[in-house]
Symmetry: C2
Subunit: 342 residues, 2 copies
């Protein structure tokens, strides 16, 4: 379980508010969208936080930028190292480029080509590794030590969680501007930084809102960990189309927040994720990647009873290859859109 | 040319500001996005106003809602009639539904199925007509007379132009928040309400910005009209994939504004429009319909010298069938994305 060392460094709402100040004018204040025709079809009010429109196409930019802005001059010159399945890679690379900090990114060799190419496009050096045979943590730690660089973890870091949690602060403010009380918020989870940060935000700003994580069925470590009360790992052999949601287990810091603040964990099939991508295209005009659609998929597939409720979901990323996106649209066509749900 | 009757009813910046107040909390304040990797590749700073995320998937909601909010109680009860290739239809239908006003929409029989279905989804009665053989104006006028209903024109109406012009007010404010001076703004044009409204907004808020319309090459009536100094019509036999941009000629009121405030008209091929849709998907995570991508296409295809300049474009709508969108993505793949430009 969570060590006392980790619990000492848990971020709090003050850290989130400080992050929001740091990110103002640097991160996109993404819209909270809704589709009346979708609401009418399903009998709920669904609000979608479009983090797909964030810089670099995912929420990861927020945590990376918040962490990098807290490095001192010497640390900035020595550069940063990050390991990531793709979106954190782009987030760190883009934030580093904006701040003039050298960045080295450790990425799995099977990450979507578009994510690798874009990470290089932001000026970062990319080091590829075998997702199923090597430890990215070990590679990252070794590179950081060799170069005297700062390691920017993808989720288990209070600065990263606080930055990612600004998504939750914005959702709370945007729901309030709509004069809406949120019954629930569902957030895609891999290592769980985003859902941990959002839970901290809503606990302060909208304490009646129940927070749920959404994961692929094949990597539902957080759902099982919440049920067990301790951190459990995924089967390393399991696979999912949600390439952004394949962290081996919840983080130490993130899970200390999850177990305190989450109402539960939801899990979705790859097929439901693909259908949710087609719905996001048709009804919200959003390009959502598989992992980014997990929370939307959970709601559309009825994983949570949302009837007559107001529920927000985070569409957390949009970095998807054209082939995968076309496949999602083509699949949706055989089933007349979202009719495959429920 | 413009009659004195029309010029008397030209909207002004005060009408736009009043529209912005009416629409606050009713229309989505859509984000002004940019893609650093795209900027780096082309050597400009491109800002994209994502009106694809507006209610009903296009800017048309703004003009419709602004017009409907100015009807009195008796007019509201008698209902509204509109004719539209699709996006104005949805805009009027959705605004009418929100206000409890009965709506009848005259749509071309060959409009995308998704637009017809969604218009019906917003509770409107849809009357189909033959785009190439019948006059939608005549049908709309007859229906309005029969029912005592108010006709809500798609563009040639000061209330509609003022509502659509709130897009321009937001662009000016958002560019100012980025501390950026806009060298140019390019706006898709059919009847020209959006570009007229945006021109009025920028003339007041950012007078140094040059305003251009963007049209399909096959329906470049505004470009030719601007060059000739008088309203010219399209060849009724011409076809374009930009189904939203096929009005027969500029409006009377709109052209009175165009000829005073526009720097010129741009025109793009259907192939460039399809490539721009693929770029918007890959770089901005936006679903843009063909007509909505005309301004982006004009910039990416080099129709305007944007080198080292800051240029905004409006992505004006996202109501595209899956088949057309997949075709745009598939086409882009053979050309390695945007490499077909320039």
């Amino acid at each position: 379980m969570t060590s006392s060392a980790a619990s000492k460094s848990l971020p709090d709402i003050g850290d989130l508010r400080a992050a929001a100040e740091r990110l103002a004018g640097r991160a996109v204040l993404t819209p909270l969208l809704e589709a009346p025709l979708l609401n009418a079809r399903f009998g709920f009010r669904l609000l979608v936080k479009a983090e797909t429109l964030q810089r670099t196409g995912s929420f990861k930019f927020r945590g990376a930028m918040n962490a990098l802005l807290q490095l001192d001059e010497r640390q900035r010159r020595a550069g940063v190292v990050a390991y990531s399945s793709g979106n954190h890679a782009q987030g760190v690379a883009a934030a580093a480029q904006l701040l003039g900090i050298p960045a080295t990114i450790v990425m799995p060799a099977d990450a979507p080509a578009v994510k690798v190419a874009k990470t290089r496009g932001y000026g970062a050096e990319v080091v590829l590794y075998d997702r199923w045979g090597e430890s990215r943590e070990a590679i990252g730690a070794r590179l950081a030590a060799e170069r005297g660089a700062s390691l920017i973890p993808p989720y288990d870091d209070p600065r990263v969680i606080a930055g990612q949690g600004t998504v939750g602060l914005e959702i709370a403010a945007q729901a309030a501007a709509l004069s809406t009380r949120l019954d629930a918020l569902v957030v895609p989870a891999s290592g769980g930084g985003l859902v941990a940060g959002c839970a901290l935000a809503l606990a302060a700003e909208s304490p009646g809102t129940r927070i749920y994580s959404a994961e692929p069925e094949a990597a539902d470590d957080l759902r099982r960990s919440l049920a067990a009360g301790e951190r459990l790992a995924n089967d390393p052999a399991s696979r999912s189309i949600c390439d952004a949601l394949l962290a081996p287990m919840p983080g130490e810091i993130t899970f200390a927040i999850h177990r305190r603040l989450l109402a539960g964990g939801l899990a979705v099939s790859d097929a439901n994720v693909m259908r949710a991508m087609a719905v996001a295209f048709a009804e919200l005009k959003l390009v959502v990647e598989p992992g980014g659609a997990a929370a939307l998929a959970a709601i559309l597939a009825g994983q949570l009873d949302a009837k007559d409720k107001t529920v927000a979901v985070v569409a957390s990323g949009g970095n998807v290859d054209r082939e995968t996106f076309m496949s999602a649209l083509a699949g949706g066509m055989t089933g007349a859109g979202a009719s495959g749900f429920n």
